[in-house]
């Protein structure tokens, strides 16, 4: 793609063209060097977006109702005049993608709404790769005019920690009665939450929800506060019935306004920018290494020695890295 083509791309993107946005995300997800160069050029050509945007993380274990919640919250935000992009991160399937049973999209209403854009991330990447792609996809969505970007993760691994490094406000979704243990909610994930929402607080479960809310709110006070000095509030809702959604949206706006007024919002974004630089460096370093064809013959000789048990993986790695550093810079110049 030529420089001019990138310009056309950017213009269409900034106009909010959905097809262009989808293709641009595919471009940043590509691991081919040429595509990555184009992706970088595209990202750099984007106008800086004025900061009325808000980046939301939503996490919780499978079955807790994340999709239904995002559907309801997204529609509510659209009703308030926002445009909503949803990026769903699920890298747990590296071989063939998707859940073995089910996994149908449950964002029925959002999926057909013109003011919404939904995109699952490409699976199969490394954790660092997924994080970079998600962050850059978020920037593309913002450039395309989506002022509310929701990043959805399954809250049991390390992804939500990566997402914590790119969002303004994180929502941890839980259900009452499943028990902390069965929900796989670890302290580290709880610590990345800015709001905890008990979902499925409807019908006969309502009393259990009230009790769970009290218990959770007490447990949370024992955790260290977030960098902005706060502990998360525990809210209740029923995404299926749409109850508690306006209150949640209101609470999110209040938190954002508070963080903006005291500088915590800007601080968080700045520190995220540094995190992003760090992970970008790491990923590009690994790519530069695996892409350097001049290392290949040396590499396969070392691999044979390692397989034969003549050389330890650590020593082989040392030698490979020394060779990488003495070949003077990237082959393309």
């Amino acid at each position: 793609m030529s420089h001019d083509a990138i310009g056309t791309y950017r213009d269409l993107l900034v106009k909010g063209d959905r097809g262009t946005l989808a293709r641009a995300i595919t471009l940043i997800e590509s691991s081919a060097e040429a595509q990555q160069q184009q992706a970088r050029e595209l990202l750099e050509s984007l106008p800086s977006v004025t900061d009325n945007g808000l980046r939301l993380g939503i996490t919780g274990i499978p079955g807790v109702g994340k999709s239904t919640m995002i559907d309801a919250l997204g529609l509510h935000l659209i009703g308030q005049g926002h445009r909503v992009a949803v990026l769903a991160v699920d890298p747990s399937s590296t071989r063939s993608g998707g859940s073995i049973l089910g996994d149908k999209t449950r964002m029925d209403r959002l999926a057909v709404n013109d003011a919404a854009f939904i995109r699952p991330t490409a699976t199969g990447g490394t954790l660092g790769g997924v994080a970079r792609c998600t962050r850059e996809a978020m920037l593309l969505c913002e450039a395309a005019g989506y002022d509310r970007v929701i990043i959805e993760t399954v809250g049991v691994g390390q992804n939500e920690l990566a997402v914590d490094r790119m969002t303004d406000i994180n929502i941890l979704l839980m259900i009452a009665g499943a028990g902390d243990e069965l929900q796989g909610i670890k302290r580290g994930i709880m610590e990345t939450a800015d709001v905890v929402v008990l979902n499925k607080c409807d019908g006969p479960a309502k009393n259990a929800c009230m009790n769970a809310r009290t218990d959770l709110q007490h447990a949370i006070q024992l955790l260290p506060a977030r960098a902005n000095g706060r502990h998360p509030q525990v809210l209740m809702c029923s995404a299926v019935e749409g109850k508690g959604i306006p209150e949640l949206a209101e609470h999110i706006e209040q938190l954002a306004a508070l963080d903006k007024s005291n500088g915590a919002f800007t601080e968080r974004r700045k520190s995220q920018q540094l995190d992003h630089l760090k992970s970008t460096v790491e990923q590009q370093l690994l790519e530069a290494f695996s892409r350097d064809e001049r290392l290949l013959p040396f590499r396969s000789a070392l691999e044979k020695s390692v397989m034969a048990g003549e050389l330890s993986p650590s020593r082989a790695a040392e030698q490979l890295i020394a060779r990488f550093r003495t070949t003077d810079g990237p082959p393309r110049g």
Copy 2:
């Protein structure tokens, strides 16, 4: 630590001294350069272990009964004359470690058995770091005479995929009735299983287990076979009551014997050796980069430009990497 000290260390380790094994694992988990050099020297000094050892992976979501299962299976293996090491991988808490409620060790009987060694991995590392540490800890355990090493992961993230790259046989633990979705069992995790075990098949749940077993066995046939050409069998057990444990142990031994007779066992270990080389190279590369103090002034200048929005993270990364490659080799010579 001197070269001689490493020798003493190794001798104590090979004699099976538990304190030395524990300290050796701490050594490999250290991120300090001096410790890493010592760890490498120690690993290389280890005698190659004769291959009657078996490496088992056990995964499943929280609450499925992994610890109880490992307690029962471990005791059974010890009863057969084996020595059992358990390495528990749980990197989900990066800030302060552990589950917010509970998470007590449930391997009561194994914990006090002289033929068993239990070790949780250090949390807080990168995925690659956790994988390297776990693999090296496994090698240390084998050198210390543990011929059955069990690696426990929470089956919802990418860890069990890393563990698949270091074990001979993987056991996926599930419970009937929780639903595939609530269990968070994704196709990718199912695809790394060599045996699927339905746990908690006791009392009134027994019928549900029988049905779930049939359903699962059918679903599994739809997945691609493992490299050895097999699909996993679905077994039933009750770890609490100890039922089905001897049958599981017997099944594992049969699978291992089969793989050994047709060469699949050796093939798998060889390909894992290559995977290990790859991840070792990647990790050492990142460490060499972050350890290179000559980059620091340049790095902080770039960070300022990125924070000020004058330079994109991608361009800054490019410049940093070029600088890393032209500083000629590691500072220590």
